[in-house]
Symmetry: C2
């Protein structure tokens, strides 16, 4: 191939390719790229959750999975036996004194960040013990209904397929799988979980590697939902791991709140402390522990009423609080289906998280270079 004749070239340098334009706003920094990712996502997606009034077909569901977008099916589980039969007396009659795992915390804050000061925090897991189901349920109700209650908070929240394990006698009252999810995802549920608690318990902002169908049975759950592209907003940090322990009399079975202590994990002779990566930003207290990207977060909020179903897509951050029914109970069931790690979704979500962490590190380095103040001050600003 001989070089063709070229007309109109004004200089040789004119034909040297330039960097391709990014189209980023601002100066075109990595910060701009991360910000534009989040704002472009919100420009292209509604800031409210889709509400369906009947269960989706497998194809309709798959369209939501493809977009990784949540929806709620109002009254989607209202024909389930659980919706019709479950109440305090029924649950007690079926489960009786079966021993169940109970998560106990002073303030309902299991698996959550405990801020000790503006710059110091722990990731604290609950004290776990075993109680007869009926005793645990009574405590949950008493905390809600008895003004004199001052003991620790109980939450039945083992997320280990407990509805086919500890609570197997209740499993008959719910479908063995969610048919549209099973068909679309070509998989049975990997875990089906039973949750029983009261309004004192909350679930801190976190994400799961599962496609999640969440069904409210008693009371209400209030979800705050953040899409995976908002990883740069949640200020994920490696936080020192600890576990609540019970310092009171071993004979006591009422777990006085003041007797609970926080025990740093791995504090023993020759043991190692561990740091758990966890979101430290709370979308309900957006000014605290924010990153420069937190302001671009646009949380979706949805309350599940009794009989409602929520599709909570894989890798969405969620923070959950709850309200009780008149019996002082909040009860839910959820189905976890394996996330599909193939395609580009998983790798791409990890990339967003990695880039956000690198950008935070870079920002801290710039800060360290330019600030000559005390280390404590730097950490305060940084964290």
């Amino acid at each position: 191939m001989t070089e063709p004749r070229i007309i109109g070239l004004k200089s040789r340098g004119q034909a040297v390719p330039r960097p391709a334009p990014t189209g980023l706003d601002g100066e075109g920094t990595l910060h701009d790229a991360v910000r534009d990712l989040i704002t472009a996502y919100h420009d292209l997606n509604p800031t409210t959750i889709d509400e369906l009034h009947e269960e989706p077909s497998p194809l309709e569901f798959m369209r939501y999975v493809a977009r990784n977008r949540p929806f709620v099916v109002r009254k989607g589980a209202s024909s389930w036996p659980s919706h019709k039969k479950w109440n305090a007396a029924y649950l007690s009659s079926i489960m009786g004194s079966t021993p169940v795992n109970v998560a106990i915390t002073p303030h309902g804050n299991a698996d959550a960040i405990l801020h000790l000061s503006p710059t110091r925090a722990l990731f604290v897991k609950p004290f776990e013990t075993t109680l007869p189901f009926s005793a645990a349920q009574s405590r949950i109700q008493a905390q809600e209904l008895d003004p004199a209650w001052s003991n620790a908070t109980c939450y039945l929240q083992t997320q280990n397929d407990n509805l086919r394990g500890e609570y197997a006698t209740l499993f008959q009252d719910v479908p063995a799988s969610i048919s549209w999810a099973r068909i679309a995802l070509k998989n049975d549920a990997d875990a089906i979980n039973f949750w029983l608690g009261n309004s004192a318990s909350t679930t801190a902002l976190h994400k799961d590697n599962y496609e999640n169908v969440y069904v409210q049975v008693l009371g209400q759950k209030h979800f705050v939902l953040l899409p995976p592209v908002e990883a740069p907003c949640v200020n994920e940090r490696a936080v020192l791991a600890a576990t609540y322990a019970y310092g009171g009399s071993p004979e006591s079975d009422s777990h006085v709140k003041e007797d609970m202590v926080v025990s740093i994990d791995g504090a023993g002779e020759g043991e190692d402390q561990s740091y758990v990566p966890f979101a430290t930003w709370d979308p309900d207290r957006p000014e605290e522990h924010a990153t420069p990207f937190s302001r671009y977060s646009q949380p979706l909020r949805v309350t599940l009423e009794e009989g409602d179903m929520l599709y909570l897509p894989a890798l969405w951050y969620h923070q959950v609080s709850q309200s009780c029914n008149v019996e002082g109970l909040c009860c839910a069931v959820n189905y976890w289906y394996d996330l599909d790690f193939s395609g580009g979704f998983w790798a791409g979500s990890s990339f967003v998280r990695d880039v956000a962490l690198l950008e935070e590190r870079r920002r801290k380095e710039v800060h360290d270079d330019t600030e000559s103040g005390a280390k404590q001050v730097q950490e305060s600003t940084w964290f």
Copy 2:
């Protein structure tokens, strides 16, 4: 809430959160993040294309859309009238002397990078003219079958829904839509295109904002496919735009190859040159014009035989070459369906591209800082 008693804390500083670990290999640079994105994608996905032997259901198709992964349906279009009826005589009898748009280039290189030197390049569009269909088809065949042929290359490749426009009389021989795609995507085809060329024509590496169903009718097409996460591999650059022009006698209708010139766009008085963002790396010549990420590319390769269908997912880079049937023709039809810009796919793919361009810019700046050689040398290494 009073501060709880804490056991086992060895120092106050121990409770200051650390940066969360990225899990990146190497030192944890932006380069590492981009590399790990590409290698993680390939670890989680096959490096061969799925082969189906019957058309998918809408749900099966939607699973592929959700993963943004291609597949080929062998003989999926073998019952179409086009597969049974189309040949040179039939096409000529239906289209006759209807005027059609013809893309003319010296070497079959329409909408492609023309490398002038290791550091200089143009993005050259074809000379477009109108010919009677039967004349254009004859030229396409003659170039393939007549050893004495030395004229320019003709390609019927207008991608403007031409099968419902210029070639509407042939549209009766193909389905009005691909039912599984139409149902799954809840949309009719946005454009349906007819392609007729010979083995001289190639399509340079590029991507489209469409979900694409590509159907081979005559001859073969050879696709090289790169997923959107490989944007950092393709060395996208802003390349000076030009168009082939015909410098020969206006009376000639044979377009002698040597009479074609490259005319820089906007070279006239008061006009502006333009630079087109385009991939400058060729996966079939991987050593040339590579980025530091090109080595991690794992192109999928698939040849479509007559009657085969390809699902080419949105934003996949594709480079295409072709082989002719015994009549010297390569003919295909494709259906473009709108890409769903919602969810995180579009925003995330743009983010990968942006970060890759920023990383290349950073690399060039480091290079400029450390090299004191002549500018020409730098550009050579950079580009």
